[in-house]
Symmetry: C2
Subunit: 402 residues, 2 copies
């Protein structure tokens, strides 16, 4: 049989990272790849109790088809959750998604035709880039500084696109503890971004998976709250609040956007598991989500500190890294002449793995960057693994000089 695949299939690249991560199956390798939560924090006992309760009291709902928008009980629970982080939202603003990757998928569907211009950060989340690419987006990457997306460069791009009558369908950003850079967008930058987006009448997509994983205790206002929900679409998920196996997230947006989201979601998976929604609604309503978040922060912060210290201890001169106040990742910039792809096999020989930085750049730049995850490895492995990485970088620098 000769299958004739679509253009979208051709545009969808096999993940470079996925290929590289195969090496991490070698048992001796300490992996800082992936973005997994620490499984020791999983609330399995609470989930078993809540699953029973949901099935006993609401089995007729939990195992049945649900509405596309989501179960009312769940929508109310996530509203309350958002309000507790400073975001006002009502049922009419919400649609449940099968994780925030589906949020990205639905954004691609409703906004991107072949050649549609969009704007995103350099670097940005790999899974977003792949999904936007699948739909044939014309991606414009804007570099970041330590305060987030650079507004001078963004304005330049918007002016240029406006002249071509090709204003972007949206600007996609991850303001809180960005993946992969770890950068937390400053309040001033958030306000500036919003006012620029308004001037050009371009919607903002605020991907917000790490907002809750905040080590500092200072929660910055979201774009959603600064804009009072106008012109901003927020993507959320429980995957980084420790429950990726549930595959539940949501979209907050103006009702006219939610209407399109719901219509298209019907063509992708009809509805998200009611069973999983009702379990999470109880988990939220019983205040257990907050406990899990606090436990995660208590575990991740020392891991991040340990990784930052280990980098200072073991990295050769010329290497720099972020010192994030939340999220799950550290971003490392190697000296200019070093390519993290070339370094990878040397690192594997030294029994340590990471994720290369290039796939996070929609313009193919970022060769000298790499991402390290600190949420999954143990404190001990962080120290050991970073010492291995330091050796690999040093060896590679020597080779380059030779």
């Amino acid at each position: 049989m000769s299958y004739k695949f679509s253009q979208a299939t051709g545009r969808t690249k096999r993940s470079e990272i996925r290929e590289l991560l195969k090496w991490t199956r070698k048992p001796s390798v300490i992996s800082f790849g992936g973005g997994l939560p620490d499984a020791s924090l999983f609330p399995t006992e609470e989930f078993a109790a809540i699953s029973r309760e949901v099935l006993e009291k609401k089995g007729y709902l939990a195992l049945q088809y649900g509405t596309t928008e989501g179960e009312n009980e769940f929508l109310d629970a996530i509203s309350a959750h958002m309000v507790s982080f400073g975001d006002q939202v009502g049922r009419e603003n919400l649609c449940v998604t099968t994780s925030s990757q589906q949020g990205l998928d639905l954004m691609a569907h409703i906004f991107i035709s072949e050649g549609t211009p969009i704007v995103l950060e350099l670097p940005s989340y790999l899974g977003a880039i792949q999904t936007f690419q699948r739909n044939g987006a014309d991606m414009h990457g804007i570099p970041m500084d330590e305060n987030g997306i650079r507004l001078d460069l963004l304005e330049e791009t918007l002016v240029k696109l406006q002249r071509q009558q090709r204003l972007p369908a949206f600007i996609y950003v991850i303001p809180d503890f960005q993946n992969p850079s770890g950068i937390n967008m400053s309040v001033e930058r958030r306000k500036g971004l919003l006012s620029l987006a308004r001037r050009f009448d371009v919607p903002l997509i605020e991907d917000s998976p790490y907002r809750e994983m905040n080590f500092s205790g200072t929660v910055l206002p979201s774009l959603w709250s600064l804009a009072e929900g106008k012109g901003v679409i927020q993507l959320k998920t429980f995957s980084k609040m420790l429950l990726p196996g549930m595959r539940v997230g949501w979209i907050a947006a103006e009702p006219e956007v939610i209407e399109q989201v719901v219509k298209v979601k019907q063509t992708t998976d009809l509805c998200t598991s009611s069973f999983n929604q009702l379990i999470l609604a109880s988990f939220l309503n019983q205040g257990k989500m907050r406990q899990v978040i606090n436990r995660a922060i208590g575990l991740y912060r020392p891991k991040k500190d340990a990784m930052v210290s280990a980098l200072a201890k073991y990295m050769p001169r010329g290497v720099t890294w972020s010192k994030p106040d939340g999220g799950m990742f550290l971003w490392v910039v190697l000296p200019e002449n070093l390519d993290s792809n070339d370094l990878f096999m040397t690192a594997i020989e030294h029994n340590v793995a990471y994720v290369t930085g290039r796939p996070f750049h929609c313009d193919g730049s970022g060769a000298s960057t790499l991402r390290l995850n600190y949420s999954f490895p143990s404190l001990e492995n962080i120290e050991t693994g970073i010492s291995f990485l330091g050796q690999a970088v040093a060896e590679h620098l020597d080779r380059k000089k030779a």
Copy 2:
């Protein structure tokens, strides 16, 4: 904010049926719309026990990210399930999906670019038509007779398309107890379809949600088994085996197709809930799925018989209907001058609702058809509701004559 939506958004129609079904919220209305399983059959007690077991023994897997292909334990359990229905399959042929609606979504992604010709039955599953339409498919509908898709008309269409060098990307059929027609494709027709597809080198998509809901006990060979898995893609789901709330299904196909499916699934939702997969794996391995299927058949068959008898008792002359040996639906054809859309409000006045037939036709035909669901309503409501429907049809015929 002025949102600029994509071409796909424009092509995705708000479901006509969804609008009509709003009327069924009127408490006095007996609804034969929808396609819900009977909730009295939900195995809530078994699910509570299995959920606890899964969380206790495999919580680290159940609540974690899984692989895109699916959990090995789940893939092995569905292989065994397929084998028990005569279909040989290995792990390399499988990818889990978030219900079979995602199976359809992935088929649309990997095969349909704007204008790609595809072939489907007249009528066919509404959810498939909407998804294919979203991606801009050029749909060619082939009428059915009591044995399934008409091969003479299919051949004519394939010859015509071949002359234009536009052979379809696939032929989409639902051989077992088709939704909406209830028709079970005969063995001869299955073989003829396969040989025609091979002659023109066109893949077959075999959507197979109702295969297990078989009242006769005689299981016909699937296209997958007749083709020994070559050139056939089978879409499966647990939604019609009574567990729509789990949102778990799968795709069986040749490895080269699975490779594309996996790549694209990563852009849509990364992976399907491991928690739900592991629960279903245990449920299958403990033999409980077979028990649930048998309980459902024991309940649905008398409901189907009751609906067929009630139609014979209450329908005016000129109305015909299918007498399916499985599945969840009866298909009704009204006398030619009656439009089921026009009839709808009369039916609601008589406190009965159904699903109009036109949205199941990719060419906009089928005005005089309608679909009745018998799995959800009670035996008593079936008798009463069909008597109401008989009155509505009679009244409408009288009005037409007047």
